[in-house]
Symmetry: C2
Subunit: 620 residues, 2 copies
């Protein structure tokens, strides 16, 4: 490919709305173009990258005995009604009506379509296990697309579905698939991706893992224990308050946690539930429940200030409403902690949103407490495990302008059942090794795998006949990778100030040939010869044949991020030489006689390939 | 691949709703599964076929200096508003509103997206010409999906867009692209595809061609002249009534044409315009215009019967309404001819539908004639060229229950302008060689190419600066191929009663290895050895390793249509032999010693490949 003919512009300036490097560099480098919010066209360099990623994924899926199929993008709503997701999934599912009035959806994931495809085929045990996969465009009505290809509305995804007759078989396959994913990320150049336990969310099922590239640009919070290697998505991380010795809990310890993400205590933040400052003073001796007048005190921070106590000595109420019927959910937790909405949703089994508290509800916004709480009929009242056994807390009095002090959960809320609804926090207790060692990192989710159990097969009446002639319901696993997001993640992990540093395995080209001063006929002829010879040797070459300054030529080459660079120039040409170097490593530059250039390039490509492959784990 | 593990069932029975062979065989052979009207999932054999077709297309597009990109499936309506197509395209364009209330469409073609992608890039002449293409899922709200993959609502399409600074450059590129298309179809195994002139329809532009596989299963009508090679889609075929000698026209000649498609004269048929029987008696001598009472006579057939004249001696009125404002369009043509709606739409520049004639309109349904016609304001009155110079015709009198005889167009309609609005018919005059030689064939459109001119670049304000510094509007070509439809077309062209006969270039596998009596350990071991050896030699093998009867094994093999077949059996095994044959050619069967089997297979594959390539035209 000659750069003079490559469709797409490159830009010096970073567009103002770019918050992450991959977004900025992929716009600046002519990889993609904005079409609408969260929707991009791919230009040739990105298309070349994603095709290589797709080929790596395909090879690994085939090695898992996967069979490539394709499901429709536009699906009849009836399939999603069978599984129940037509009702349960929110507005991220694009619904429409076709010209004949039939209800349709745009598939954002294809469990239903997979079951529909094999429901009759897989009617006898001898056909199990099997896996089918596709690589396809999907559409998801994201509320807040952001960060370029990291969170988009339209994307290409590999989605795979496996079918099994036993949990053991699913687990064996799941382990092979987990390894295949590690191989895919390593082959694509980011072996550092970590596998973390995750929440299954709207997919259903029991066990799931996410593959996370840890980077400040990520939008997920990952809980890690450097001591024992525990890792989980914040949404799935268990929150522990009592070590085995029974003493880890309490205000001092919790204060660390309160530092993290404290901004969310402000009820005005849209993503958080409506938080209700509840007040009281902490004390270790048993004390009576006493009303305190607290005019104008609504938030936990105001309450703690007003009473001169730590937020961890308060009992906070956070109020949501169920999407389906708008009934209220009031969750009490220790004042210094945050609600983990994924855990709450998972417990409730339905979607929720931050509450709008009306006067008729009987709830006193800002003054809600667990004693004598009279919400409207159908209100769900929940207690986080952080409150279990605590006493001497401040809380709301369920009366405008009043709080209580001296709350003793055991005494005052004898019927409370405690469950884990809080977010893990930095410095918190690791649920595996029990040490106060948790750290929180940001990560980009580049893939996920789920043990779905029988959620889809049961609801969609898929059955097979086992060895004994009995009808049984098979179980499923599903496995996703976003192709564009993976490309952007590699860019996040591998770039410098000037552009991406593409790994040789997915680079748009292997070699970038710069012809400096192409107006010099001798130099031009040398570059043309090299271009020909490299192509004949099967090397993918991008040939910058333009008459532009060295500055433009090198900044464009940096933006295109091709790993091996070959430079011809008047001086080199006079010496019968060319210069070979690696992107992002000027120190690697060597001069080679022209006739050794092709071999030199091939050796470099081999070297880079071998270094990459050395980090790829074996298949199991 | 082992057949025992291949996902998908094969069936003996033809599903009752299949009207074409490819539809039936692809369902019966486990190639695809019905999901919704005009929407299918692809099973592994079809996925393998379409991937091979896509790779052939990609190679030919790259050889045309095409650069692969990808456009979004979901596009903002604003882009289609810029080009004007948001309003002008009907309900086959799927429109929806996203969760934020923004109007969107699902791209059924991507001219707008292509212009949006390169509008800034291609701002100077030096960047021209260039071509970008993608292979992508598209959705089209077909009113009547039919015939399996021939006419679907969701499909994979290669769409390419070229940009030029002169008509000459576009024409040169167009010719190269036309040749590339011929290569694609020949490489896919159907070199017999013909290239016909076509109507540009909603795409706009001047010149366009369609690539047609002639088969009774096709849904397009193709006009062919076996004498001179003229070929055109019915929609675009010029209709000629006068040969150069000036005598070809007249009732006797026209009677042939009237046989074809006569059913459409019934005004009750929904697809046709509202047809209005007009009456009168034909005569060659000038005669006066006279009213005739014709109670209950509404159609041309009734009128001709009533007056004992040929339909070609009548002047027929066909009435439409414009979609945009419902104003009437009254078209007069000779009574034996059919309206070519594509020509009419193209002349009007807007979409039309069969008229609903109300009492208030002033039009007398069944009695409309060209003399003293008083339609409502805004009515468009048109005359087909077939009427030019005719006299002595019967026509409507614009009065309930009355017609006229003795119509002399020159005398009675002195202001009429005549244009070509009629359908060509079998036995009609070839517009190129002038002979009465036209034949009508059915065809499947497997590809199309368009010279778009500046329709999109002008409306979307795409400009470039030429050598002299002047701003100019570039012109475009566009080039489409439906991947799934091509697969189905090959199946239409290449099948027997038992299944498809896939060409080696796109066959799902190259070799089908049948292990007869695999319960015999020796036979099984031989088959296993062959499977291994063939795979090591790089051959794509489908290995039927099941314990099933010969009948099941061979009927499945026929349905899968793999070109080379290898059979192991107890008898062959005892002789140390295997049997090699070609699909659909039992006479080709030969016995080979086991150790010669791999070489034999490779030679067969080579032979089939060379035979195919011999029919592929050179690139230009």
């Amino acid at each position: 490919m000659k750069l003079s003919k490559l469709v797409g512009d490159r830009f010096k300036e970073t567009p103002s709305d770019c918050v992450v490097a991959s977004h900025a560099l992929m716009l600046r480098g002519g990889y993609m173009k904005y079409v609408a919010n969260g929707i991009y066209s791919s230009l040739p360099p990105l298309k070349r990258i994603t095709k290589k990623i797709e080929e790596i994924i395909r090879e690994e899926m085939d090695a898992l005995d996967g069979q490539e199929v394709s499901f429709p993008v536009a699906l009849p709503a009836s399939l999603w009604e069978e599984s129940g997701r037509y009702a349960s999934v929110g507005s991220e599912l694009l619904r429409f009506t076709d010209r004949n009035g039939a209800k349709m959806v745009l598939g954002m994931t294809h469990e239903e379509a997979a079951v529909q495809l094999v429901r009759e085929y897989a009617s006898t045990y001898s056909r199990y296990p099997f896996m089918i996969y596709q690589i396809q465009t999907k559409f998801r009505g994201e509320a807040r697309p952001r960060a370029g290809l990291i969170r988009v509305r339209e994307f290409t995804m590999k989605d795979a579905y496996s079918f099994h007759t036993s949990q053991e078989d699913l687990e064996n396959y799941y382990a092979r698939c987990l390894r295949a994913y590690q191989r895919i990320f390593a082959r694509a150049g980011i072996p550092e991706v970590v596998c973390v336990a995750s929440d299954s969310g709207m997919m259903g099922g029991n066990l799931s893992h996410e593959f996370m590239l840890l980077t400040p640009a990520g939008e997920d919070s990952i809980v890690l224990c450097p001591e024992c290697g525990y890792s989980a998505n914040m949404e799935a991380a268990a929150c522990i308050y009592h070590t085995e010795e029974g003493s880890a809990d309490g205000p001092a310890a919790a204060a660390d946690g309160a530092q993290q993400d404290a901004g969310r205590e402000d009820a005005a933040l849209p993503a958080a539930g409506r938080e209700d400052g509840s007040c009281g003073s902490a004390g270790s001796a048993p004390s009576a429940l006493l009303p305190v007048e607290t005019p104008g005190v609504h938030t936990i921070e105001e309450l703690a200030d007003f009473l001169h106590i730590a937020p961890s000595s308060t009992c906070k109420a956070v109020v949501y409403q169920k999407n389906q019927d708008d009934s209220y959910v009031v969750l009490f937790l220790r004042g210094d902690l945050e609600v983990n909405e994924a855990k709450l949703t998972s417990f409730l089994g339905e979607a929720i949103h931050p509450a709008v508290i009306t006067e008729e509800s009987g709830l006193q916004a800002g003054f809600i407490g667990p004693v004598s709480l009279h919400g409207p009929e159908g209100t769900t009242i929940l207690f986080d495990r952080s409150l279990e056994g605590l006493s001497g807390l401040a809380c709301g009095a369920n009366k405008e302008g009043w709080h209580m002090t001296g709350l003793d959960l055991k005494r005052d809320c004898p019927d409370a059942v405690y469950r884990d609804f809080a977010k893990a926090s930095a410095g918190g207790i690791c649920p595996v090794c029990g040490r106060r060692s948790l750290t929180i990192s940001r990560g980009i989710e580049v893939g996920n795998i789920f043990q779905l159990g029988d959620k889809y097969t049961r609801s969609m009446h898929m059955q097979y006949v086992d060895e004994k002639g009995n009808s049984r319901t098979p179980i499923m696993g599903c496995y996703g990778i976003g192709v564009g997001r993976l490309a952007a993640s590699v860019c996040e992990a591998m770039h410098d100030d000037y552009g991406p540093l593409w790994p040789i395995s997915i680079a748009p080209w292997q070699v970038h040939l710069c012809c400096m001063r192409g107006d010099n006929a001798g130099v031009r002829a040398q570059a043309d010869r090299l271009y020909e010879a490299l192509q004949e040797a099967g090397v993918e070459v991008l040939y910058d044949d333009r008459n532009v300054s060295a500055g433009v030529m090198f900044s464009d080459a940096d933006l295109l991020g091709v790993p091996v660079r070959l430079i011809t120039s008047p001086r080199n040409w006079k010496e019968g030489c060319v210069e070979l170097s690696l992107r992002g490593d000027r120190a690697s530059a060597v001069k080679l006689p022209e006739e050794a250039a092709v071999d030199g390039v091939l050796a470099k490509i081999r070297e880079l390939t071998e270094a990459l492959e050395a980090k790829v784990p074996e298949r199991i």
